[in-house]
């Protein structure tokens, strides 16, 4: 009936051939990247006899791979320790950060006092507090969890505050004209509106939590991937050092992916804009 119906979104059942074409195109687009990575690995692999770099300076990828396989139990054991620290630290950031963001948005006192205070505290490099935390909290999990928490807390709070404040005036007007209570306005209007931004904060936060836990382990620990790195360094076991880095990166990728998948499940509508 009207003009803009012509701009109807793309057909749903894209045929198999179309999908195949897209897949091929995807591989084609990534070809230069894979080529480059392969080239780098080849150069790295040959570094020891081309440039004469000793094994303890730069072990070739195959040696690192071999180490990953031979020491998998050790790596996994320590990865679990780090994972626990990350999850508790991140969990605390979410559990405290999001409610705090809600308080900041809804309460003048929190907005005026807590928010500026938090922003100024943010300028302290949290990592620098680690020795102090070790002094206070000992050698166990607590100081690592605390650093992971401190470092991932801020992006989660900031993003949540920004998200919760992003509700337009008109949307609040709409809610009020429907007689929505403050709670309904929060649950049906403000919170869903804020979720993409909150998830943005969670994605930054989870990576930061890994940094925090690892640094915590550098300072004082008896277990964990950071601790394993430190020990490998002392023993000049560079392949194990690299293997720990690989596992740490893998941990980061997996945790980030988990948050991204939860986001995708929780906000299917938010994907639509990205795909356009």
């Amino acid at each position: 009936m009207s003009l803009d119906l012509a701009s109807e979104p793309a057909e749903e059942g894209a045929g198999l051939s179309t999908r195949w074409m897209r897949l091929r195109q995807g591989v084609g687009d990534n070809l230069p990247v894979w080529g480059f990575v392969t080239l780098l690995l080849l150069i790295w692999q040959s570094a020891d006899f081309v440039f004469g770099l000793p094994l303890y300076v730069l072990p070739p990828p195959t040696v690192i791979l071999a180490k990953l396989i031979s020491s998998w139990a050790l790596l996994l054991d320590n990865a679990m320790v780090t994972l626990v620290e990350v999850l508790f630290g991140f969990g605390a950031s979410v559990g405290i950060g999001i409610p705090l963001a809600i308080l900041i948005v809804y309460s003048r006192i929190f907005e005026r006092v807590a928010f500026p205070l938090m922003v100024s505290l943010q300028t302290i490099p949290k990592v620098a507090l680690t020795p102090l935390l070790v002094m206070w909290l000992g050698y166990g999990l607590m100081p690592k969890i605390t650093v992971a928490f401190l470092i991932s807390f801020f992006p989660i709070v900031i993003n949540s505050v920004i998200g919760l404040r992003s509700t337009e005036r008109e949307m609040i007007f709409l809610a009020r004209s429907l007689g929505a209570s403050e709670l309904t306005t929060f649950l049906k209007f403000r919170l869903p509106k804020a979720l993409p931004s909150i998830f943005g904060g969670l994605k930054i936060g989870i990576g930061q939590a890994i940094v925090g836990a690892t640094v915590g382990e550098f300072i004082a620990a008896e277990r964990g991937l950071g601790y394993l790195q430190l020990i490998s360094q002392v023993r000049l076991d560079t392949p194990l050092l690299f293997a720990a880095v690989v596992v740490l990166s893998g941990l980061g990728v997996i945790l980030f992916k988990v948050v991204a998948i939860v986001e995708k499940l929780a906000l299917p509508w938010a994907q639509l804009r990205l795909e356009d």
Partner: protein, 276 residues
């Protein structure tokens, strides 16, 4: 909340007497500004709107016409004067008035149908009959088949249609529209005016329609209120005595041309439009 005596009346208009009456008596609105000196947005505005009447308000930016709408809706408080809706003092948001803004403020996280049903959900209205009403409204604006789509998949015109359906789903006795077509391209805009007229002729609720477009106001309205700016005051009120539905032919009608011309002369006299 000191609102809802008027809400009871607004809930379901009787079939014969559709639409709420509005009475503004010497209504003024003063806004505080950041710089300190308050701005008089509306200065002693008096206006009576009959049940089922379609009244447009045209005026330059800053003439207080949006303020007028939010005052009638009870979304902001007046500085002085009286505002009566259905004979009762407006002291808070009047529930059950349909509101449409220039921004469609659709909820990106809800599909089209659930967006339209939002008022039913928030106000706890009976579901089955309103579901039928929602589908009926969507059909009337050419959006049947789009119920499951998300707003991100729609064009600007389609989005605003959904937003109008959302306002109408609760059978409002009063429909308040603040430049609803202001963000649309000229062609879509013309189609939307036609659609709105069609819907209104079926619903016959009282409409307060705020616009920048003189032609749009004349085409749609029983009366056009011309406003001047700073302070916002009513400069003139024109009766548009033309049969409905008013289509493309109506735009050539001498009465249409004369009314448009009269309003344009007003704006010239006010110095808002000039020849040179």
């Amino acid at each position: 909340m000191g609102l809802d005596h008027s809400a009871a009346l607004l809930k379901t208009p009787a079939a014969d007497v559709r639409g709420a009456t509005i009475s503004l008596q010497n209504v003024s609105k003063r806004y505080a500004t950041l710089r300190g000196d308050p701005v008089l947005a509306l200065d002693k505005v008096s206006l009576d709107i009959g049940a089922g009447e379609f009244v447009s308000i045209v005026g330059p930016s800053g003439c207080g016409k949006s303020t007028l709408m939010t005052l009638i809706a009870g979304l902001v408080s007046k500085t002085s004067g009286r505002i009566l809706v259905d004979g009762l003092d407006v002291q808070g948001p009047i529930r059950g008035a349909g509101v449409v803004f220039q921004k469609d403020v659709l909820m990106e996280w809800r599909n089209v149908l659930r967006n339209v049903l939002l008022p039913v959900e928030v106000r706890g209205l009976e579901k089955a009959s309103h579901l039928a009403k929602a589908q009926d409204l969507l059909r009337s604006v050419g959006l049947s088949g789009f119920e499951e789509r998300y707003p991100a998949e729609l064009s600007g015109g389609m989005r605003q249609r959904v937003s109008i359906c959302r306002a109408l789903v609760q059978n409002p006795a009063l429909l308040l529209m603040d430049e609803p077509f202001g963000a649309l391209d000229a062609l879509t805009r013309e189609q939307m005016a036609t659609d709105l007229q069609k819907m209104w002729m079926r619903e016959r609720s009282t409409v307060v329609f705020i616009t920048h477009s003189i032609e749009e106001a004349v085409l749609l309205s029983d009366r056009v209120v011309v406003m001047s700016s700073r302070p916002g005051q009513i400069a003139d009120i024109l009766e548009i005595d033309m049969p409905r539905p008013r289509g493309a032919e109506a735009r050539k009608d001498p009465r249409f041309v004369a009314s448009v011309d009269a309003i344009r002369r007003h704006f010239m006299a006010l110095g808002i439009l000039s020849e040179s």
